[in-house]
């Protein structure tokens, strides 16, 4: 530039001239736009690439776009193409950038020597090698070929916990390797969150997943949210509730807390925590008494007309227990609950009695009801039916009798809900159900986490079947799950009692051979009738050429169960010194599981512990800074546990699929390689397995055969030798003898010609294409979004959708069409893929002797059930009753108004040093712990905090642990808003800041005011925001079906001020126990 032109430019830029020239004489607009402003470009535009991903937090499964510049993630935001989330994200999803790239992520392996007070660094490879050595040694030293004389082929010395935050492919490798090593104590968050869902929905409908999908809520005419704070815990999914509301739907929220969900509802019903079965039972009774049930639906699609055995006696007639109770052993013989004229439980009908006896006892302990995640309980023969529904022993009459005392007044006495308010709910629900209207229910862990958790969900299932709301648009039961892939870690289970696709883990002695197993677990009718195909294909996927018809396809390689080996059993086994090694794979039990003290003391009894996470969570550092170290109950120098910390890769740093809460498998792509020594769990499992196999190579010990013969040759890629997740998905999908990918589980055979890692996922890799990676934008397809990713089963989005049409195959109502029978084409057609044989006419009736799918008629929409019907009454499959009935929680200030039986007689309860129970009802000392406690999740935090308390943008929104109390209770106890309170149970005491709010409501029960307090459960003592853990107060009191803990209703005392420090804390808890007279017997016993 010449000096002259420079001078003229300078002149032109002289503000007055510049402003005049731009028509901005006052210099308030474009004339003053700076060079920096002029050059501004959003980093979404300047990014080198945009990678399709899925939010790693809750189970809604919102789409994310990950923007990458120079191999760094620079932005993560919602993917507008997603038909579920439509580009939106909640605060947690919006904080994904800090979660994955923030300073709290660890990138180095850490190691704590026995008795040491400090961490030290260890190279990744050396650490992995050390872990491999410890697995081999511990396994060998504590190997069990037999247990009490029965073949088990296992080790009880190693346990693993976690998987719900991980990919399906990762869960698959975890389950596969551990099982081959003989490790059976494999568990994940699903146990403590939604295991009761699987049992409740599975026994009712045949599958354990939510019956509907998120977008379908927009078609509801009424949505009842109960046992969930939908808007708070699943905010982006809640947009579909708001869509329905905008259309005029009524939204009802039933919850002890007036929450952010209640704020948007038309009606909030404050209810006493733990009393929901009485509330739902009340609606069931209202529906039956006022003839509001959907006659044609109920008659054709449910088991209302089935006749029950004469020996059956209802809880109404036995003082609150069903027939068959063994009070001493605390379990039911379920034989009397069966259909008339059908053999008991076992499908074969000719198994000898001796063989059957041990089976029943182990059934009660082994979480078997969870195996109905995709397949109902076994039945044989034809049930007797009375289509007039008048037979006194038909299900309909039993149901009527069972619920006739659940009157509005009883609801008031149990739930604390006034009849007027209760009847408003009854009206809303019944007026919005029928041919032209549908009501949906949505729930979450407010229902699942009870000693009667499975029955809570059963109660809703009964109601929704009576109203004809299952399988229909705008209807259904929406189970809201709280981890990105907790449905996936249930389908491909890192759960002790399941194999992929809800195939039950074999039991010791019960299943000697594959045929025995199939006879014991399969059914003659329905799709579960092909179970042998699924099992043989799984064994072929795992043991490849080694599995042949001659050796029962290596069925003998599977370790055997001998009762319950749930995560809580593992903790007790740790305390008893039986467990030596423990893997934590993205789970933080020191904060997230019930009875935090037992969790931590259990870990202090281990020889070695492996923690894989983003940051140093409480479960990784308890040996130096746990509450027990503070009280002196633990001394760091005394603790011999070796601790390995492996930094984990985030969802943006690996390929893989999450299964969302509506069974939708969504693939997320790697955006960048993980930094430092951070690795995916796929990498960890694969390379750990590789090392173990190398070290064992050449072993002729039969103990090692399942490990050495395991198919474990996945291709790897990149600098870090990451296993190819697509290859794992391809194995999960399955292939035929030529290695060609299968397209449907109907192609699976039982002769070894097909291999399939998870039969319900068969089809996800159809034609060799990753169907879970499909991303056809929302706007380019209809509301169902069938070409967005892939849902099991067979990409069906609404389960049991055959029920959306009447028996003749026509939609029940014009507005409520989903699929229908096209007579001309002789085909089921419609908006969704039929969850039914597409060519089976509504008029088809099975010939005598038909089996498997052929045995189901054209009016049997529940195709996984042995009789094709929705079960109002569950004759087989649950351990604590065929019908839901109200019991008080393990700890309750209320004496059961319904029965003299206070609690679920077959609940699991444990008298242990650190697991004492508060007295209940009118027991002496109950008044020492008079307040009802419920725990909950905040929008701003995530589960045990590992993915939120380290994120500054989330921490500042909810910066401290607090307790919500009503103004009435605050006045009684002298609690000041913003001050401190101490909350005390027989287990422990914690402190929290006080939030006094009219949103907490005392309820009146039997003339007595019952106060309720609410505690978010996210806090622990590490991270950016720290505080006491709600779970330090809770106890191990479990649902007998699935071993889920009761943390949504317990009792406590609350007093003003902070808790004592040091040993004085233990003394305080002891003082309260003494005052209440708590002993080892308190709260124990079946008939109490």
């Amino acid at each position: 530039m010449s000096p002259r032109s420079a001078k003229s430019k300078l002149l032109a830029n002289w503000p007055v001239l510049h402003q005049l020239r731009h028509g901005d004489p006052f210099g308030r607009g474009i004339a003053v736009k700076s060079e920096t402003s002029a050059k501004l470009q959003p980093r979404t535009i300047t990014a080198d690439k945009v990678v399709k991903s899925v939010c790693p937090y809750c189970g809604v499964g919102c789409g994310q776009n990950v923007y990458v510049k120079n191999e760094k993630v620079v932005q993560i935001e919602g993917d507008p193409d997603s038909p579920i989330s439509r580009g939106r994200l909640c605060p947690k999803g919006s904080a994904s950038l800090e979660l994955t790239t923030g300073p709290s992520r660890r990138h180095h392996v850490m190691y704590r020597r026995p008795h040491s007070a400090e961490w030290e660094r260890l190279p990744l490879d050396q650490a992995l090698d050390m872990v491999a050595d410890r697995v081999i040694k511990t396994r060998r030293e504590h190997w069990e070929w037999e247990h009490e004389g029965k073949y088990v082929r296992r080790t009880m010395s190693i346990a693993s916990l976690g998987g719900a935050t991980l990919d399906n492919e990762e869960n698959y490798l975890i389950k596969k390797l551990w099982t081959a090593l003989g490790i059976v104590q494999v568990e994940n968050q699903a146990r403590v969150c939604h295991s009761s869902t699987v049992a409740g929905l599975g026994t009712s409908f045949g599958r354990g997943g939510a019956t509907t999908f998120m977008q379908d809520l927009q078609h509801s005419d009424c949505i009842v949210i109960e046992g969930s704070s939908f808007a708070e815990a699943h905010p982006v999914g809640f947009q579909w509730v708001m869509e329905a509301k905008a259309r005029g739907a009524t939204v009802v929220h039933v919850d002890p807390r007036f929450s952010r969900t209640s704020a948007l509802a038309d009606l909030h019903v404050p209810i006493r925590a733990g009393s929901d079965i009485a509330f739902l039972g009340g609606i069931i009774n209202y529906v039956l008494q006022n003839d509001k049930w959907f006659h044609e639906y109920v008659l054709n699609f449910t088991n209302a007309s089935h006749i029950i055995r004469e020996e059956f006696a209802d809880a109404e007639d036995l003082g609150g227990v069903f027939s068959g109770l063994d009070a001493e052993k605390g379990h039911y013989d379920t034989g009397t609950w069966q259909y008339e004229g059908m053999p008991v439980q076992s499908a074969s009908g000719n198994r000898d009695a001796q063989y059957d006896r041990p089976r029943k006892s182990s059934v009660s302990g082994s979480g078997k009801p969870e195996s109905h995640g995709s397949g109902g309980a076994g039945l044989a023969g034809e049930p007797e039916r009375d289509l007039t529904l008048r037979h006194p022993r038909c299900v309909f009459q039993i149901l009527k009798h069972h619920y006739e005392r659940y009157t509005p007044e009883m609801v008031r006495d149990i739930c604390g809900v006034e009849p007027e308010l209760f009847l408003r709910v009854c009206t809303a629900v019944t007026e919005n159900s029928g041919r032209d209207k549908t009501t949906a229910f949505a729930y979450a862990v407010g229902w699942t986490q009870h000693t009667t958790g499975a029955q809570f969900i059963r109660a809703c299932s009964v109601l929704q079947l009576l109203l004809g709301n299952i399988g229909r648009p705008g209807g259904g039961i929406q189970a809201l799950r709280g981890h990105a892939s907790i449905q996936g870690s249930t389908d491909i289970p890192t759960l002790f009692n399941l194999l992929p696709g809800y195939l039950p883990m074999p039991h010791a002695h019960e299943h000697e051979s594959l045929d025995d197993y199939v006879r014991g677990e399969g059914t003659e009718k329905g799709f579960w009738g092909s179970m042998r195909n699924y099992m043989v294909s799984l064994l072929k996927a795992w043991w490849g050429p080694a599995a042949s018809a001659d050796n029962d396809f290596c069925f003998g390689y599977l370790p055997r169960l001998t009762g319950s080996h749930s995560t809580y059993d593992t903790v007790m086994a740790q305390l008893d010194g039986k467990v030596k090694g423990y893997f934590l794979m993205g789970e933080n039990p020191a904060v997230g599981s019930a009875n935090g003290k037992m969790q931590r003391l259990g870990m202090a009894n281990l020889e070695w512990l492996v923690v894989r996470d983003f940051s140093l969570i409480e479960s990784a550092t308890w040996w130096k800074d746990s509450p027990e170290v503070a009280t002196g109950e633990l001394r760091t120098e005394d603790i011999a546990t070796e601790v390995f910390f492996f930094p984990a890769a985030s969802h943006t740093e690996k390929n893989g699929s999450f299964t969302n809460t509506n069974r939708l498998l969504q693939w997320h792509w790697e955006a960048v390689e993980p930094e430092g020594e951070a690795r995916s769990d796929l990498w960890f499992m694969y390379h750990l397995g590789r090392k173990i196999r190398q070290k064992l190579a050449g072993s002729t010990d039969p103990v090692d055969a399942p490990v050495l013969e395991l198919t474990w040759d996945y291709p790897t890629e990149g600098r870090i030798e990451e296993p190819k997740a697509q290859a794992v998905l391809a194995e999960i999908n399955g292939f035929d003898a030529d290695g060609s990918p299968l397209a449907s589980y109907q192609q699976l055979n039982d002769d070894g010609s097909t291999a399939c890692g998870c039969w319900i996922y068969c089809g996800v890799y159809a034609d060799g294409i990753n169907q879970a990676a499909r991303r056809k934008p929302d706007k380019e397809q209809d509301w169902v979004g069938a070409e967005w990713c892939w849902a099991w089963p067979a990409n069906r989005r609404e389960l049991y959708n055959r029920a959306s049409a009447d028996p003749e195959g026509k939609p029940w109502g014009y507005n409520k069409a989903l699929i229908w029978w096209d007579e001309d084409k002789a085909l089921w057609t419609g908006h969704d893929i039929p969850d039914f044989d597409a060519t089976k006419s509504p008029y088809y009736r099975p010939p005598a002797g038909a089996r498997a799918a052929e045995a189901l008629s054209g009016i049997d929409p529940f195709i996984m059930q042995a009789d094709g019907k929705g079960w109002l009454y569950v004759p087989a499959g649950l351990t604590d009753g065929p019908l839901p009935t109200h019991y008080e929680p393990q700890e309750s200030p209320v004496t059961n108004p319904l029965y003299k039986q206070q609690r679920n007689p077959v609940r699991q309860h444990f008298s242990r040093e650190h697991n004492r129970y508060n007295p209940s009802g009118d027991e002496q000392g109950a008044d020492v712990y008079p307040v009802v406690v419920t725990t909950y999740r905040l929008t701003e935090h995530f589960t045990a905090g590992g993915m939120s308390r380290w994120v500054s943008y989330l921490s500042e929104l909810q910066p401290e642990m607090f307790v919500e109390v009503s103004p009435e209770l605050a006045a009684e106890r002298g609690l000041e808003n913003g001050g401190w309170a101490t909350i005390i149970t027989a287990r422990n005491a914690i402190e929290a800041r006080v939030l006094v709010t009219p949103r907490m409501v005392p309820v009146r029960i039997d003339g007595k005011v019952v106060h309720q307090i609410a505690l978010p459960f996210h806090w622990g003592h590490n991270g950016y925001t720290q505080g006491d853990s709600a779970n330090d107060l809770t106890s191990l009191a479990l649902d007998p079906n699935v071993h889920i803990q009761e943390v949504k209703a317990l009792t406590a005392e609350i007093r003003a001020g902070r808790r004592p420090r040091g040993p004085a804390l233990v003394e305080l808890v002891e003082q309260y126990r003494e005052r209440a007279g708590v002993t080892a017997q308190t709260g124990m016993g079946a008939l109490s």
Binding site: G27, R28, G29, I30, V32, K33, S34, T36, S37, L40, Q41, P42, T44, I45, Q75, I76, E77, G78, G87, R88, L89, P91, G93, S94, A95, A231, P235, V236, F238, Q239, F258, R260, T261, A263, A265, D266, L267, H268, P270, G416, E418, T939, Y953, S955, E956, L957, P959, E960, F962, G978, R993, L995, P998, R999, V1001, P1002, V1003, R1004, V1009, Y1024
Partner: protein
């Protein structure tokens, strides 16, 4: 372009607060448990460009039934929990802009008001000028910061981060005229369904700030949400003041001139 925030569908999730901070790299600004319902953010500031207010009230939402148990003697009149995401109003007549001596604040081609971080010298004149108390000085930085309505994103036709994240579409982004029509329709709908408390705030181009570029549907008086009921651009009287100043100056000058003239003649006279 602007925001219409329909607080009647806000679920108080604070996604807007986080999405804003993530996009604009606004620093975390303290872990303070306030005890004020779920509001631990407290207000807009240099480090908070979206703020969700939480107001617990003992009165029912229209159509909502009192949820509290009457038998306990507790409140029977019901309960509602108002939530509203506040933001810079991007006033049509923006005082911050008027008083900025450096040209750091400017009105963009989208009609929004933006502080340019490379120009701002931290003089702080804009702070008392804002009738809403929005713009603020960042500690340790010295410059003024506030919502830019994601100026960088607008330049490529992308909606602001908060509006994009909002799970229930409480925060809507678009051309102001279109948003105003949408808001009018929504208001009518609310009134028709009996929510007579519903009102628009900041939508009127004839109000004291010439209408807000970010306006709201509220369910109660603005004061309840911490908003001024009748904001006026603090520089509204500037022209009149300048006029007066002008008059004063003119009269001052003329009286001085007159006195000189008069004095001159006096002195002239005196010399005579």
């Amino acid at each position: 372009m602007g925001f219409f925030t329909d607080t009647s569908v806000c679920i108080g999730c604070k996604a807007c607060e986080v999405a804003c901070k993530e996009w604009n790299h606004v620093p975390e600004d303290g872990l303070v448990f306030t005890g004020m319902s779920y509001d631990n953010t407290q207000g807009l500031s240099a480090d908070t460009w979206r703020h969700v207010a939480f107001i617990e009230q003992r009165k029912p939402l229209a159509g909502q039934v009192p949820g509290r148990d009457e038998t306990t003697g507790a409140v029977a009149e019901g309960l509602r929990w108002l939530m509203a995401s506040d933001v810079c109003k991007h006033c049509t007549e923006a005082a911050c802009l008027d008083v900025c001596p450096t040209g750091a604040l400017f009105r963009t081609e989208f009609g929004t008001v933006v502080v340019q971080e490379d120009v701002c010298n931290g003089c702080g004149y804009c702070v008392p000028a804002c009738p809403y108390g929005v713009i603020d000085k960042r500690h340790g930085d010295g410059r003024m910061w506030k919502c830019t309505l994601c100026y960088d994103r607008l330049s490529v036709g992308t909606e602001p981060a908060c509006a994009k994240a909002c799970p229930t579409d409480s925060i809507q982004f678009g051309p102001l005229e279109e948003l105003r029509q949408r808001a009018d329709r929504r208001l009518q709908q609310m009134h028709a369904s009996g929510v007579t408390d519903a009102r628009l705030y900041g939508h009127d181009p004839n109000d004291g700030v010439g209408g807000d570029g970010a306006f709201f549907l509220l369910l109660d008086e603005p004061e309840v949400y911490g908003l001024p009921p009748d904001p006026v651009v603090t520089t509204r009287d500037l022209p009149a003041m300048w006029k007066l100043v002008g008059v004063a100056a003119v009269s001052l000058v003329s009286s001085i001139a007159a006195s000189f003239l008069a004095g001159g003649s006096y002195r002239a006279g005196a010399r005579k």
